[in-house]
Symmetry: C2
Subunit: 272 residues, 2 copies
């Protein structure tokens, strides 16, 4: 049972988690470099400022990827009595390795909630963000079964759907399901910007394709750098497809173009 | 004033236009290879089957690009008394040229409504589809001013926002604003399909990026082939950006990645 939690980082994910946990009766303590966010959370009765004077069951590292990887070292001495340490980052190998090396691997389970949008910060946080959202849980090699169960409990409490996935498998998979779409959306946006096209010139479909370009450059630079070895093959695969399409367009062969487009549509039609 | 209109092609666009015009009291006559669609429109009191026995003010060619280009030849003899002939295709140079060559250029104004989604067919058509939607109007060199005014009136009646744009400028612009996003979405979908990723594995952002892959392969093969000379430079520009991103990822240089991503976000932020 989770009675108290420290949430470090009150952005979209951390802030929303703090709101939901507080609503479930969990005593939430919050830390953030941005003192205004901590003050706002306190004023709204969601979380008290984190002082580490009270013991907590769970610590959630909800700052951006790099910062989260740096945090455990700084905080390792304060983790006594903590039954679960988790994060909310979009890559899992590096933080799981860092936790193991810091000697907190027994209580560390990496979390990656597939929730949120291109907005960020405390002001974007809200209750119910995780309802129905998949959350990948990546334990360390040395993680206790109790800690994994507590991670499941944490996310289930806020309506999410946890699934345990090895960190390496997670990072390989997310390179395709998340990092590649982000890369494509950003690259397309840059091409349009260079051509003098405004986003308001696009139809609804074009706005969909470029929506992810609004994501945080700080967060995404960290993700793409952190997962570079898995992202590069995905980028290469997209380049192969772009070339195939270019050749089909250049050929003027409508049947070939139709086949190319039809295979994309078939894939879409399986989950429209 | 528009009292009667023939709509040829009862798909998403033609069907929706027929519904809206009928709701405004216009006598609508409808033709479609699919007799069931014509029957459905008649049964719902939206349009009578087109026989060409009644004179009409306006003829709307709402069949796919290639078919629309073939239609005027077949129908040129029936266009007596018609004050405006228009289409709804996504490219404009080829149909405007064809209309000029057929000798109906004086009454022809190409239309391209930026409305609809990846769905298609009469069943997807609905009232109000064009409310607030931009519609590009591309006259021929010989088009009468009256025909242009009638085209404005037609689209304004159904709530759209017409804008006159030269056919060449239209096709250049749409290569970027519409055809390139479609190409990127389809290429990404094919890359994901080849990697064994299902669309249901994606988060909301990834689903946004791949939504256009559900577009009609028939319609889009025609569009991309018809506008190949403008689409190819746009594809090349996207490839340049993809390569730039690949290099930034491979470099492991977070500042470089951040700058790349930040420029995409700046563009997005102008019209979020």
């Amino acid at each position: 049972m989770i009675e108290s939690a420290a949430v470090i980082g009150l952005g979209l994910i951390g802030g929303s988690l703090a709101r939901d946990l507080a609503a479930k009766g969990v005593h939430v303590f919050a830390g953030d470099r941005d003192e205004a966010a901590v003050r706002a959370a306190a004023e709204q009765g969601i979380a008290r400022p984190l002082t580490w004077n009270e013991p907590v069951d769970v610590v959630v590292l909800a700052a951006p990827v790099v910062a989260a990887r740096e945090l455990p070292g700084e905080l390792a001495g304060r983790m006594e009595g903590v039954r679960l340490i988790t994060d909310v980052g979009s890559t899992k190998r590096s933080i799981v390795d860092a936790a193991e090396q810091l000697g907190i691997g027994d209580r560390f389970v990496g979390s990656h909630p597939l929730a949120g949008d291109h907005r960020s910060g405390w002001d974007a946080s809200r209750t119910g963000l995780f309802v129905g959202a998949p959350v990948y849980l990546s334990p360390c090699r040395s993680t206790d079964a109790d800690a994994v169960e507590l991670a499941r409990e944490l996310w289930t409490m806020v309506g999410a759907v946890p699934e345990v996935m090895d960190a390496a498998e997670h990072d390989r998979r997310l390179a395709w399901t998340s990092h590649l779409p982000q890369a494509a959306s950003t690259a397309l946006s840059r091409a349009l910007a260079a051509a003098g096209i405004a986003r308001s010139d696009l139809g609804p479909g074009g706005r969909d394709v470029t929506r992810l370009a609004g994501s945080s450059p700080e967060v995404w630079a960290d993700i793409l750098a952190d997962n570079a070895d898995e992202v590069l093959p995905a980028l290469d695969a997209l380049e192969v497809e772009m070339r195939g399409l270019r050749q089909a367009v250049a050929s003027g062969d409508r049947d070939r173009l139709r086949q190319f487009l039809a295979s994309g549509r078939e894939w879409h039609a399986q989950h429209p």
